[in-house]
Each structure stands twice: as structure tokens, then as C-alpha cells.
């Protein structure tokens, strides 16, 4: 049991070079599928164990902390790990046909290797208890994702990858700098040790500088308001399957880093409250929500529209965190899970149906309700989840979000939530109208295979299930936020 965290990390890491040796595409796909599935099973048992018995600490190479690197699998980590591995598995299954047609044949096995490395990076970020290790894994996942993004068959794909590289590196550099300052000030790199060493009356100028740099780095990663432009451009020009994968995972990794650093490492200072940073973040995410929903309404291209909607939902999550109440943290964690599932499902449908189209406009969806009735009804369910109709998971997260807002000091934000959910209804309605109420039928779409459709149905069914039985999302999130706010020793 104690070895589970490192197994989760090591498994894809070991398989990836093996795949490099056998340059076989189908073999690469099968192995990565197998590894993801195994990972998922391991993580489910890990989650079970951690939920019952508390967190697992594992020292890499038996070097004791704080010198050595330690992996800490606590409830927050397992929650995010579950999300990442599940999304990875689903996207692998549903995207294989896409990969075969969009990406050049020579590169497919490299594609899957990069996918596995990206997985390793994500799992490493989530599991590690050492702050520099976090940076290392962040760089691993970013490098892998630069490669993955550049594989799209748009002319602008490589350009988008380079842009993402620049911006991602800038973010990583900020984080590195902040880590360096922390190390210089405290002499340790272990997160639990850091949180012990940073006590309240030790706030120097350099410490506040490091906090600010962390904020910028994390802000770039989570597409906080002024730093969100890269997300839209990336999502438009990357291969669709990568967009589906990243919409559910890479931005949520940023949320994880935010939570870990600001609520865990800096736990004793509570810097957000101290410097009124929280209000700044609140304000920024509020503007982010409004603006991105506004941009989403006027979009014609579906992937851009969904990208802007992702930015809006992410801003909701950050908003809920910035409220600094336990209910806010719970609401944001619930929404992380629910939104990932919904957004991945939506992007997957676009991926499945439009393999060769580069720009998918709303008009391309016309008449598809009659052509693919089952698939479109699952799509409709996911869209309703995006709006937040009751009985879907979107409603649950909206409920918790609004109650958290009303319980904090910033009740007027709930009006903004109301307005933006109305605007969300608007652009979702444009899609639904085209799908079901259009005269012409678009015959350019590709027919989904059984496994692809099954993935979508699974995601839609999970949305409904999480809308009714919330013990998975709400139960765990509640436990996590109670741990954060009411336990001083972890």
C-alpha cells in the first residue's frame, strides 16, 4: 500500500522509453491504454485507502525528508489524481481514430510517448511534497504538452505551440524564481517543512516578492484574467484530442498548484488575506468570468466558444477559492471535477464528429440531431450540465458556488453569477438550436465508432450521476476543506 504513490508515478515513466525502442504505432497505443487503465485502478485503490486511513508518505530512494524528496498522497492529491487518470483514459480511448488521421504516421508513437510523459508530469506535480520537484514535474509536463500541441494539422499549430512554450516558460520561470527565494529564506525545499518554517512574523520583502511571483506563475497556468489569452489560441490550434485532454487536466493542475502553495505551504501566513491579495484575485476572476462569457457569446467557431467557456468556468473556480471560506473551497473542488467531465465530453464530441475539419463552426452542427440521435442527446446532456440545469452535476456545483458566495462577504457576486449563467444559456442555445431545429443537414461529419460513442455516453451518464449522488465530489471536497481549515497539523 505504501508503494502505491510511487507506482502511479513510475509506471508510465518506465513504459515510455520502452515504447521509444519499439517504434510501432499500434503497440504504443495499446501499451499507453494499458498503462492508463492500470493507473486508474491503482489510483482508485489509493483513494480508497487514503480516504479511510489518512495520507501516505513515501520517501524516494529512502532518503529522509527534508533532504530527500518525499511523495505525499493526501486526499486532495488523490482527488486530482483520480480526475487526471480518468480523463487520460477516456481521451485515449476516444481519440485513437483521431490520432490516426490527424497526426502523421511517423509521429504517432512519439505522440503516445509524450502523452505518457505528460501523465507522469501531472501525477508528479500532484503527488510530490517537495517544491522543487514540483517545478521539475511541471517542466516535464509542459515540455510534453508543447510537443503534443504542435502536432495539429493546422498551419498555425507550430506557432501556437511556440507561443505556449514562451508563455509557459515565463510562468515556470516565475515559479522557479519564487522557489529560489523561498529556499534562500528558509533553507529547505520540502513543503511540510516550509510551512513549519514560514511563521507569521517572518515576512520580509523577499517573501512577499516570492508570493507575488507564485501568483503570476500560477495565474499563467490557470488562465487568470489578464493572462488567459494563450488558452484560447492553444485550444483552437492544437489537435482536437489534445484540447479535450487538456481542457480537463492541464488547467486544473494550475488550480492544484494554487491550492498547494497558497493554502498549504503558506498556511501560517495566509498571505491572501494578509495582503488583500484575495480581493485582487476575486476582482480579476470576476472580470474574467464576465468578459470570457461575453466573448463566448459572439463566437462562431465552436472550439473557440468552448475555450472561452472554459476560461469562464476556471474563473468561477478561482473566485470560489478567493472567497477564503471552507464552503468556497468545497465549491471550487466540486466544480473542478464536474467541469472537467463536462468540458472534456463537449470537446470529445467535437473531436469525434469533425476529424478533418479545421475550423468547426456552429453551422457545422446543423441537423446533426437527426443524424446521430444518441450521440447528440448525450451532447445535449453535457450542454445542459454546462448551463447548470437541475439533475446535472453543473447544478450541484452552481448551488454550492452560490451558497458559498452568499455566505461570504461578497454577496453581490451572486448577481454576476446569475447574469453569466444567463449568457451561458444564450450561447449553448445557439448550438442546440442548430443541432435540432435546423433545416439543412451537415453531411461532412464522420461517423463515430462504438468505443467513441460509449465514452461520450459514459461521460454524460457520470454528469447525471454526479448531479444526483454527490458523495464522490462533495463528500471528498468537504473532507478536504475541513482538513485545510480546521486542522493545523497535517
Amino acid at each position: 500500500m505504501n508503494q502505491l504513490p510511487v507506482l502511479v508515478l513510475i509506471l508510465p515513466l518506465l513504459v515510455a522509453p520502452i515504447l521509444l525502442l519499439f517504434r510501432d504505432n499500434r503497440y504504443a497505443y495499446n501499451m499507453s491504454l494499458g498503462v492508463s487503465f492500470l493507473n486508474l485502478l491503482l489510483i482508485i485503490s489509493l483513494l480508497h485507502y487514503v480516504y479511510e486511513d489518512g495520507n501516505i508518505l513515501y520517501e524516494l530512494g529512502s532518503w529522509e525528508a527534508p533532504i530527500g524528496i518525499r511523495l505525499n498522497a493526501d486526499l486532495l492529491s488523490c482527488y486530482f489524481l483520480l480526475l487526471m487518470s480518468f480523463m487520460s483514459l477516456i481521451c485515449l480511448i476516444a481519440g485513437h481514430k483521431n490520432v490516426k488521421s490527424q497526426i502523421e504516421d511517423d509521429n504517432i508513437y512519439l505522440f503516445y510517448i509524450a502523452w505518457l510523459l505528460c501523465n507522469v508530469g501531472f501525477s508528479g506535480i500532484i503527488l510530490t511534497n517537495d517544491i522543487f520537484n514540483l517545478f521539475v514535474f511541471l517542466e516535464i509536463s509542459s515540455l510534453a504538452s508543447y510537443f503534443l500541441i504542435s502536432q495539429g494539422n493546422y498551419k498555425a499549430s507550430s506557432l501556437a505551440a511556440i507561443q505556449y512554450l514562451f508563455i509557459g516558460s515565463i510562468g515556470a520561470v516565475f515559479i522557479l524564481f519564487a522557489i529560489g527565494i523561498l529556499y534562500a529564506n528558509t533553507g529547505t525545499l520540502n513543503m511540510s517543512d516550509l510551512s513549519n518554517k514560514i511563521i507569521n512574523n517572518n515576512i520580509s520583502l523577499s517573501m512577499s516578492l516570492s508570493i507575488a511571483m507564485f501568483l503570476i506563475g500560477v495565474g499563467i497556468k490557470t488562465a487568470l484574467f489578464p493572462l488567459h489569452g494563450w488558452l484560447v489560441r492553444t485550444y483552437t490550434y492544437a489537435p482536437s484530442i489534445i484540447v479535450s485532454y487538456f481542457s480537463g487536466t492541464s488547467t486544473k493542475i494550475g488550480v492544484y498548484i494554487l491550492l498547494r502553495i497558497f493554502l498549504d505551504v503558506f498556511h501560517s501566513i495566509n498571505p491572501l488575506e494578509h495582503y488583500e491579495l484575495a480581493q485582487l484575485i476575486l476582482f480579476l476572476s470576476l472580470i474574467g468570468v464576465l468578459l470570457s462569457t461575453l466573448y463566448a457569446v459572439k463566437q462562431i467557431e465552436v472550439k473557440k466558444m468552448l475555450a472561452y467557456s472554459s476560461v469562464a468556468q476556471l474563473s468561477y473556480i478561482i473566485l470560489a477559492i478567493a472567497l477564503l471560506t471552507p464552503e468556497g473551497l468545497t465549491a471550487s473542488l466540486v466544480h473542478v471535477f464536474n467541469h472537467s467531465i463536462i468540458k472534456t465530453g463537449l470537446f470529445l464530441v467535437v473531436t469525434i464528429l469533425f476529424i478533418n475539419n479545421k475550423d468547426v463552426s456552429i453551422d457545422d452542427f446543423s441537423g446533426l440531431g437527426s443524424k446521430y440521435p444518441l450521440l447528440m442527446s448525450a451532447f445535449l446532456l453535457l450542454l445542459l450540465g454546462l448551463i447548470g440545469l437541475p439533475l446535472t452535476s453543473g447544478f450541484i456545483s452552481k448551488w454550492y458556488l452560490v451558497s458559498a458566495i452568499l455566505q461570504s462577504d461578497y454577496w453581490y457576486i451572486s448577481v454576476v453569477v446569475l447574469i453569466t449563467s444567463f449568457m451561458t444559456l444564450f450561447y449553448v442555445w445557439l448550438l442546440i438550436e442548430k443541432i435540432y431545429f435546423s433545416v439543412s443537414v451537415n453531411h461532412d461529419s464522420s461517423i463515430p465508432t462504438i468505443s467513441q460513442s460509449l465514452c461520450i455516453y459514459l461521460l454524460a451518464a457520470i454528469t447525471i450521476y454526479l448531479g444526483i449522488e454527490t458523495s464522490l465530489t462533495f463528500g471528498i471536497s468537504d473532507q478536504i476543506s475541513t482538513n485545510f481549515f480546521y486542522n493545523t497539523n497535517k
Binding site: 489578464p226 489569452g229 468578459l291 461575453l294 466573448y295 457569446v297 459572439k298 463566437q299 462562431i300 473557440k304 453551422d363 440531431g369 437527426s370 440521435p373 444518441l374 447528440m376 442527446s377 448525450a378 445535449l380 446532456l381 440545469l389 437541475p390 439533475l391 452552481k398 448551488w399 452560490v402 451558497s403 452568499l406 455566505q407 451572486s414 446569475l418 449563467s421 444567463f422 444559456l425 435540432y436 431545429f437 435546423s438 433545416v439 455516453y457 454524460a460 451518464a461 447525471i464 450521476y465 444526483i468 449522488e469 454527490t470
Partner: protein
């Protein structure tokens, strides 16, 4: 020991709705049988079983019985049965399934014990009724349904905000009497009032209801507004602001109906009018007035259904819906005319009809409370009702200028439906104790006193005189009247300009490269069809996961 779930009268309707998608040819049989089963369950099982079901998560109480709910459920099911009889010849099975879903969600709302359940089924009711409107398959019904959906979802969001605020503040979601002293109670009130057709949200009733098919309007008129009346009785009885809102609705309905040309729009405005009476009754808040409101809702569903059925028969037979196109139909459609006249008498509270015994309760309640101004306004309303619905509707449709249209009475089931309903209206009027026995509070009111009958006859006679004297000013013209919908209809181009402007400004000020693509105009929709399998599969997925999780919760 009967399982709680199966004592709910709405379940057979849900199952029936699903079965219709599977067996499309038998939709008539399935619908009538499921309504009969529901009636059976309601009358014999629901009132006897021990009912409260608490889920262990957030104290959700989805089945809570009350005498008022029994009354409303009874009249909902009776109207459903009559309406299904009337819609036998309609060949849209989608409409029939959606109507069953609509009725079932309304009954779920009636029996819900906490606000979350109420909200869930409130939304389902809005969606189901929109699909009923859309099943008419015409361009106008498509756009009217769109506006209806947007309006109701907006009201749902306001209601949700109020409910969440209520939960956050008081941590108790059970449905109970609320005072209007907190912001969230006001939002809940606004959410309920939007469904009832209160100003400024009253335009959706005359906008959307006449766009349904000839048979679906009968259903549409009965459920959304009366459900909100029910929930207002339970949560806001006695709030005096409701009296003012109700009086405005009464006058609004009369004035706009006088100007209206479309047959069923007149009746739709008259729905707003009558619901206004009910809301005044809720606002007064005494036992007598709540009794009156409940009785009025009962009789209103029936006589409004009757009026809409006779209008629907006219539309079914000759496909004309404007007053300027019809006239002189009493010779060729006698049964329809007689039933229409019975309905008109009932709505005007003519003695010996069901309208008389219920409206006089509300008026008397205002007298007992000493509210002179309210009472005067109610009298004005009573006079006006005869004017716009009691005489105008039958006169312009069945009498007046004879257009010599060649037609006959509608086919037999439609006739039976109308005759049965007029029979019920008169029966209740002649024997009021039957209705009084199921009212929530005990009744010591006697409708047939000399005062009541004499004053009512006075008012009615002289309103009739006023109508016929000023007949030439009331001639129907080919016009429509603007309303609050002027603010939001056809305004997409302004919204587009506004959205573009705002986003361009922000894009430039942040110095990003923004995509300046104007939205293409909406395509003109000549014909559309919502594929049946999609909706049924969606419903099946929802229901399966719902039942699975319910089963896991129950055991």
C-alpha cells in the same frame, strides 16, 4: 405496507409518457389509461398512506401531502382526462407524451415538501411545456416557444437564487409560510409570480399559449399558472402586496382583452385576469379568501378549459383564429356554441355556475376584512369579466356578422369533452357542497343568498347593456397590441451591436488581437422537427440514472 414512491399520483403519468414514445400508435389509449390510474391512486391511495420521505443528505422531502394539494391534483387530473379526450384526433404523439410529462411535473410540484424538489420539477415543467408549444410545428410557435423558454428559465434562475439564499440564511428548505422581509424571499416571490403571469411578466401568457395547437392550449392554460397559485397560497398567503399585484392583473387582462382580435389571445388575457382574482384572494389571506382562491382555481381550470376547447373546436374545424374571420357559427356549430356560452357564463360568475360559488367567496372575504377599495376594484373586475370574456368571446365567434362559413360541429369525442365539462361546471354550480367539502379550511359560506344572486345579476345585466350599446366601438380590427414584449422582441440586432461594442472595447483596451466576427443572422426556420429518439433516449438516460440512485438511496 405500500412503498412511498408508488403512492405518488404522478408516477403513472411519467411512465405513460415514456410508453408513448415506444408505442406511438396507442398514444391515446396510453394517455387516458395512465390518467385514470393516477386518479385512482390519488383518490384511494394517496390520501390514506403515510407519506413523508426524507432523504438522508439534505432533508429532501419529495412527497408531502396536504388537503390543498389533493384538491389541486384532483382538478389537474380531471382536466387532464377531459383534455386527453378532446385531443384524441390530434396526431402528434410527441405532444401527447409531453403533455403527460407536463402534468406529472406539475403534480410533483404540488406534492413537494421542500424547495429544492420544487425547483427541480419547476424547471422540468417549464421545459415540458415548451416542448408542448413547439409540437405545433409552425414558425410562430417555434419563436413563441423560444421566448417562453427564455422567460421561464430566467424566472427559474431568480427562483434558484432566492432558494439558495433561503437555505444559506435559515438552513431549512422545507416549504413554509415566508415573510417578505428578506431579499431572498422577495426573489422567491418574483420567481413564483413570473409563472403566474404577474406584471411586468404577464406578456408570455398571451404570447405563447395561443401558439399551441388547438388541443395543447387546453393543457397549457391549466397547469403552470395554477401551480404557481398553489405554491403562492402555501408560501405567501396574506402578503398584502399581492392584492395590489392581483388588481393590476385583473385590469390588465380586461383592457388588453378588449383590444384583442385573436380568439385564443382574448382567452389568454382572461387567464391573467382570473389569476389576478386568485392572487387578490391570496393577498387577503383569511380562511375564507384562501378557500375562495382554491375553489376559484378549481372552477377556473374547468371553465377556462371549456372555453379553450370551444375555441379549439372552431380552429380545428375552420382553421381561422381571428375574430374578424369568424361569426355566425351558432347555426352550424350549435353544440360548440352552447358549450362556449356555458363557459362564458361560468367565467362571468353567473348564478348556477361554478364561477359564481367561488368568486363570491373572494369578494365576501374582502368585505369581511373591511377592505372597501379592494372590494370596489373586485366589483369593477367582475363587471369587466363579463364584458371581455363573458360576452365578447361568444358574441364575436358565434354570433355577430354571419360569414356563412360552411362547417359542422367537431367530431364526437371533442363534443363529449365539451359537454362533460359544461356539465361539471353547472353541476358544481348547482350543488356547491361537493366542491366545498374538499376545500382546505372548513366552509360556512352560503353562496346562494339573495344578496349575492341579486347583486350579481344586476352587475351582469348592466354590463351586457354597456357592451351592446358600445358595440360599434368594440368592432374587431386586424391589429395587435404592443406590450412589454416590445422591449425584447426583435431586439437581437441591438443585442448584437451591444455585445460587439463591449467586446471590441475591452479587446482593444487589453491590447489583445480579437476576432471581430459578427454573428451571422439566424436562418429563417421554415420547418423543423425534433427527432423523437433523441428526446426519448435523453429521458431514458435521465430516468435510469435517477431510479438507480433512488434505489441505492432507499435501500
Amino acid at each position: 405496507m405500500i412503498n412511498n414512491l408508488f403512492a405518488h399520483p404522478a408516477l403513472p403519468l411519467v411512465i405513460g409518457s415514456l410508453l408513448i414514445f415506444l408505442f406511438k400508435e396507442k398514444s391515446n389509449h396510453i394517455s387516458i389509461i395512465s390518467i385514470l390510474i393516477s386518479l385512482f391512486i390519488l383518490i384511494f391511495i394517496t390520501s390514506n398512506v403515510d407519506y413523508v420521505y426524507m432523504s438522508n443528505i439534505t432533508a429532501i422531502n419529495y412527497f408531502s401531502y396536504s388537503k390543498l394539494a389533493y384538491l389541486f391534483c384532483l382538478v389537474f387530473l380531471i382536466m387532464g382526462l377531459i383534455g386527453k379526450l378532446f385531443s384524441i384526433y390530434r396526431d402528434s404523439y410527441k405532444e401527447k407524451a409531453m403533455v403527460l410529462l407536463y402534468i406529472s411535473s406539475a403534480i410533483f410540484v404540488l406534492f413537494s415538501g421542500d424547495f429544492l424538489t420544487l425547483y427541480i420539477f419547476w424547471e422540468i415543467m417549464a421545459i415540458a411545456s415548451t416542448m408542448v408549444i413547439w409540437s405545433n410545428n409552425s414558425r410562430e410557435s417555434f419563436s413563441a416557444g423560444n421566448r417562453y423558454l427564455v422567460m421561464h428559465l430566467l424566472g427559474g434562475m431568480i427562483l434558484l437564487l432566492g432558494i439558495i439564499g433561503l437555505y444559506v440564511d435559515t438552513n431549512d428548505l422545507q416549504i413554509r409560510l415566508l415573510n417578505l422581509d428578506t431579499w431572498y424571499n422577495w426573489m422567491i416571490l418574483v420567481g413564483f409570480l413570473l409563472n403566474a403571469g404577474a406584471p411586468p411578466f404577464s406578456q408570455w401568457i398571451p404570447d405563447a399559449y395561443p401558439e399551441g395547437s388547438y388541443s395543447s392550449t387546453v393543457f397549457l392554460s391549466a397547469y403552470t399558472t395554477k401551480t404557481s397559485v398553489f405554491i403562492l397560497i402555501v408560501t405567501f398567503a396574506g402578503s398584502h402586496v399581492l392584492m395590489l399585484i392581483g388588481i393590476y392583473m385583473i385590469m390588465y387582462g380586461i383592457v388588453y382583452a378588449l383590444l384583442e382580435n385573436d380568439i385564443r389571445r382574448i382567452l389568454a388575457y382572461s387567464i391573467v385576469n382570473q389569476v389576478g382574482f386568485m392572487i387578490v384572494g391570496i393577498g387577503i389571506g383569511t380562511e375564507l379568501s384562501i378557500n375562495g382562491t382554491a375553489a376559484h382555481a378549481f372552477s377556473h381550470i374547468l371553465y377556462k378549459g371549456l372555453l379553450l376547447m370551444s375555441a379549439g373546436s372552431v380552429i380545428y374545424m375552420i382553421n381561422k383564429r381571428k375574430c374578424t374571420d369568424v361569426g355566425g357559427l351558432y347555426k352550424t356549430m350549435p353544440i360548440t356554441a352552447i358549450c362556449g356560452i356555458v363557459g362564458a357564463l361560468a367565467i362571468s360568475a353567473f348564478p348556477l355556475t361554478s364561477g359564481f360559488i367561488s368568486k363570491s367567496m373572494i369578494v365576501d372575504a374582502s368585505i369581511h376584512e373591511g377592505m372597501e377599495l379592494i372590494w370596489l376594484m373586485l366589483l369593477v373586475g367582475s363587471a369587466g369579466v363579463f364584458l371581455h370574456a363573458g360576452i365578447k368571446f361568444p358574441w364575436f365567434v358565434f354570433f355577430h356578422k354571419d360569414k356563412k362559413i360552411i362547417t359542422t360541429d367537431p367530431p364526437k369525442y371533442m363534443k363529449y369533452a365539451m359537454i362533460i365539462t359544461s356539465g361539471i361546471c353547472i353541476f358544481i354550480g348547482v350543488w356547491p357542497e361537493l366542491l366545498y367539502s374538499i376545500l382546505p379550511y372548513s366552509v360556512s359560506f352560503i353562496p346562494y343568498t339573495g344578496n349575492h344572486v341579486a347583486s350579481q345579476l344586476h352587475i351582469l345585466l348592466f354590463s351586457a347593456l354597456a357592451f351592446f350599446i358600445s358595440l360599434k366601438y368594440l368592432e374587431r380590427t386586424l391589429t395587435i397590441t404592443l406590450d412589454i414584449d416590445f422591449l425584447y422582441r426583435d431586439k437581437i440586432k441591438y443585442i448584437k451591436i451591444l455585445v460587439n461594442f463591449m467586446s471590441n472595447m475591452t479587446a482593444r483596451s487589453i491590447n489583445y488581437i480579437s476576432f471581430i466576427n459578427l454573428r451571422k443572422n439566424f436562418n429563417s426556420i421554415e420547418n423543423y422537427l425534433m427527432k423523437q429518439t433523441t428526446v426519448s433516449v435523453m429521458l431514458i438516460i435521465i430516468l435510469i440514472t435517477f431510479t438507480v440512485s433512488l434505489i441505492m438511496n432507499i435501500s
